[in-house]
Amino acid sequence: MHNIYKDQSNILTQYDIECLLNRFGGKDQSYIEIVDVQKNQQIFAKYPLLKEISHAKSISTLKNK
């Protein structure tokens, strides 16, 4: 039987963090930072000034690359 236990919580358990570390972390990394990019983009879309700043920032980041 599959999916006997499904984690519905928004809070990450230590096990979740270790799984994320194994997947995305390197050998030397003892922590990972989880950023809700989608939520941030929704916030930027909500406010014109924030959207403008975010847009300008992403252009200057691209130019610096």
Binding site: E33, V35, D36, N40, I43, F44, Y47, L49, L50, I53
Partner: protein
Amino acid sequence: MKRVFLKGIKGGTGSTSVAANLACAFRKSNEDILLIDLDPKSDVGLHLGLPWQHNSGWSNFPNFESAIEEFFTDNDGVIFLPYGSNSLGIKRLQETIAGVSNLKTSQSAWVIFDCPNYIDLNDFSFTEQDIVLEVINCDAICHSLVYKRLVSLNQATKDWQHYFLVNKYNSASELESDLLQVWQSETPLLAPIHINKDEVIKESTAFKNVAVNCAPYSVAYDDFETLAGWLVSKASKND
């Protein structure tokens, strides 16, 4: 001597209130503390019980050495130096910072400088141990200024430890919680703690005092204690 420089990223962010309350939080933990007012508004003393009519300070003296008699001690033992009533240039600010730094104090003493928001940090000689807390509020103008500051900090040869400190955070405001969410996840140099908006701060100033003496169990005082603890941990890493 551990030096902390507090300045608002713009006017009205509440950096003087933060400076006075933080000084008192340090003092309650038995730390030696000096609070130096570098802002021509000269209102640090109002938070610490100085009479409103007292309008002299270090700026009224020809040099820092002759202004020593202007130091006061409040009821909690915070030693502070009011700015006074003369408007002075950057050179005198630099001399006062140097004068305070040369005072004979214990090595573990803290000095908090309450700086005006318009100063250019590059005009001062900071060390790697110095901590600059730039006070911001959760509003769109601060959001814009933070990103501009990050660009200028990237371009400057920065020696000091720079952090943005959110003050007067109102969790009931949708815009403020949105901005804090963005800053916490995307903005480098954001201090991991913020000071919540609390009526106690305004009330305690009206009573010529700081939050801990008016409401020792307030959210605000809790925040200042946490901020002091965080600064101690930063300073111990420097040692």
